[in-house]
């Protein structure tokens, strides 16, 4: 209805979204920004961040306070697919997700750092993910008006952006790669365009 099908945007988008294209776009932008080097956190802070994040999520995560990360062993009852989360540094984390679970839940179950401020109520855009391969994007159902309204406000919006709470694991999505937009990458220091409130 709103014409966000990738077919319209052709090869330019495909090129941008191939893995190398995505990463090189990110690094180029980071390095070209005047204070680019400030935006990459030091390895020390990153390591602390990772440890603290894990502790924080396990302690406070309302979705899975006590579950460990998904095991590879299939319990024979729920079919699982593989979803690969890609963080802002390009690091890939594959996780096993049962059919029917949303991407947001899957992220929280596996300590992936994906915000969910409104807890899947379609009242925010903090669970924004970018589908990195167009064939997978096209397999998803069109976003509803309500999801598109929230996507309008998402930082780093792309042609293949979706809200993680609205993307549900299905067999045909096995192997899908989802990039979590970098806040620092998209928070333009120069020429920042204020968003409405």
């Amino acid at each position: 209805m709103f014409g966000y099908r990738i077919s319209r945007f052709g090869s330019a988008i495909v090129k941008q979204l191939t893995r190398e294209g995505y990463l090189s776009t990110y690094w180029t932008r980071t390095l070209q920004r005047p204070y680019g080097h400030y935006l990459r956190s030091s390895p020390m802070v990153q390591r602390q961040t990772r440890t603290c994040q894990q502790a924080f999520f396990l302690k406070n995560n309302r979705f899975s306070a006590f579950s460990t990360t998904s095991s590879d062993k299939d319990d024979g009852e729920t079919e699982k697919i593989t979803i690969i989360f890609v963080d802002k540094d390009g690091e890939e984390t594959p996780v096993k997700v049962p059919i029917g679970m949303s991407v947001l839940e899957a992220a929280h179950e596996n300590d992936i750092d994906l915000e969910g401020a409104c807890e899947a109520s379609l009242a925010c855009s903090t669970c924004h993910v970018i589908v990195m391969d167009t064939e997978y994007y096209n397999k998803l159902e069109e976003p509803t008006d309500e999801e598109n309204d929230m996507l309008d406000l998402a930082f780093g919006l792309t042609e293949t952006s979706r809200l993680g709470c609205q993307v549900i694991a299905r067999p045909e999505l096995d192997g899908v790669r989802l990039a979590i937009p970098s806040a620092t990458r998209n928070f333009a220091v120069d020429g920042f365009v204020p968003k409405p409130h």
Partner: protein
């Protein structure tokens, strides 16, 4: 260079190996900016202790006092913020006012890092004649009133003198106040709207609300969700002039560059097309979108001296000023729009405090990526060590709740770098020092447990009336509920 490197490496080693709290942080303001900053600091630094102070006894800032009562999903983020406040290295202290209970310099003496995230509690002015007439208020006051902010419990907007209200501005705050004025009160009765506001709205005679913007539909500042919502309200007649919907090449360009703008325009076009002829129903509620009009002066009533009776509006046209932006320019043609109440939804403004550098033109604290800078007389800015800003005080009063996620990430990034440079080398008193000072000054602080008592009582009272909560709206009631 070698000495810098050595000190850098030593402080990084130290900060990772010290297990007891070594970084004392105070965040001023407990809205989204304050809480996202606290959360990120706690995650990034195992040795950080964060105290969040707020002048209100209740936390969460505009999530509690700004988000409209009929938008409960937007308030769900309070759950996440509560988890931060309950973190073992975090404390919330409400009813503590910076500037009255303690000074900025005292705070900076107590903590290694002070982050000011107290938002924008004042308003932009139009600066036109008649602005001080009765019946003219800022939208912020009206919002705080219906959301039960303790500073506005005795506010009395005049909703009974006529059937018309004018709202200046077409952003989401303008839509919020229009919607609260026009929504059937039976629908509002089951929200957390303040009781005094519900009663006043039940007796309101306002039936026609005019949303006045100085530019066109393509430039309207509201977002799709809110627009879709108000355009879909039952039995609400929408009025948009077809002629206002014609687009220029510059408008097309703006829409091409922003999918949000394009969708807003499409929504308004569809609404204009769908608006049929109105029935002659005197009780019919109407929402008028008035484009290309800017207020020139306010008109005073002849019958009620000192009270507003309308707005004199100047027609405008748009002029391109480069980089795809168009501004409104007056044409010299004027017309009057009568009303008995005007709400100005043209933007908030931050309030400066003693000892804090402030840019009065932009209404923000001057900063570079969250680090507060002061202008020395030579025009060279100097960073204020250990002092940071986040949220509206840093960026201006724009953006949504999630905008603060990224804002906090930037400010915390700056703090982390500065920690690496050794700003937390000297010992600071932190929480202990703050509590001693507050005790000495007999400040009745409300900790998070106190808020939980207020919360539980409000929810209990609300359940008796089929509302999610019944808010306490006076300072006395809030402090009493927190204590028992």
């Amino acid at each position: 260079m070698a000495r810098y490197l050595a000190r850098h490496l030593v402080s990084r080693y130290l900060s990772s190996s010290v297990s007891s709290p070594s970084l004392h942080v105070c965040v001023v303001g407990s809205g989204p900016a304050g809480f996202y900053t606290a959360e990120k600091l706690l995650k990034a630094h195992e040795g950080a202790r964060v105290d969040i102070i707020d002048r209100l006894p209740t936390p969460f800032g505009l999530v509690r006092s700004g988000v409209a009562p009929d938008h409960p999903e937007t308030k769900i983020v309070m759950n996440q913020f509560s988890r931060v406040a309950q973190h073992e290295r975090c404390s919330f202290y409400g009813n503590v006012k910076l500037g009255s209970d303690l000074s900025l310099s005292e705070l900076r003496d107590l903590y290694h890092v002070v982050v000011l995230a107290y938002g924008a509690e004042s308003d932009r002015d139009l600066g036109i004649p008649g602005e001080s007439l009765n019946g003219i208020h800022s939208a912020r006051e009206f919002v705080w009133w219906y959301n039960g902010h303790p500073d506005y419990s005795s506010f009395k907007p005049d909703l009974k003198s006529s059937d018309k209200a004018v709202i200046l501005g077409q952003g989401n705050v303008a839509l919020d106040v229009a919607r609260i004025l026009l929504r059937p009160t039976t629908e509002l009765a089951s929200t957390d709207i303040a009781r005094h506001a519900l009663s006043a709205l039940e007796e309101s005679s306002i039936r026609k609300v005019y949303l006045v913007g100085r530019r066109g539909p393509v430039q309207a500042a509201s977002t799709a969700k809110e627009l879709r919502e108000i355009l879909g309200i039952k039995n609400l007649h929408i009025r948009i002039k077809e002629t206002d919907l014609s687009v220029t090449p510059a408008d097309e360009e703006e829409m091409k560059n922003s999918r949000a703008r394009k969708r807003i325009y499409e929504l308004l076009s569809k609404a204009a097309a769908a608006a049929g002829t109105s029935k002659a129903d005197p009780d019919q509620r109407e929402l008028h979108f008035v484009f290309f009009r800017q207020p020139a002066r306010f008109l005073e009533s002849d019958e009620r001296r000192g009270h507003v009776s309308g707005v004199n509006l100047e027609k405008t046209i748009l002029e391109s000023v480069g980089s795809g932006k168009q501004i409104a320019v007056g044409t010299g043609e004027f017309e009057d729009l009568n009303c008995s109440m005007v709400l100005k939804a043209i933007g908030y403004k931050s309030v400066p405090i003693n000892g804090l550098p402030f840019d009065h033109k932009k209404g923000i604290v001057p900063n570079v990526r969250g680090r507060v800078v002061s202008d020395t007389s030579g025009g060279i800015s100097q960073t204020e060590p250990g002092l940071y800003v986040c949220g509206w005080l840093k960026r201006g009063p724009v953006g949504i709740i999630a905008t603060n996620l990224y804002c906090a990430e930037e400010t915390v990034g700056s703090i982390s770098e500065d920690i690496g440079e050794g700003i937390c080398e000297s010992a600071k008193a932190g929480s202990k020092g703050l509590l001693q000072l507050l005790e000495k000054r007999l400040v009745n602080r409300v900790d998070f447990r106190g808020w939980e008592k207020i919360d539980a009582k409000e929810i209990q009272l609300g359940s008796e009336r089929d509302k999610p909560r019944e808010k306490f709206v006076s300072w006395e009631d809030l402090l009493a509920a927190a204590a028992n």
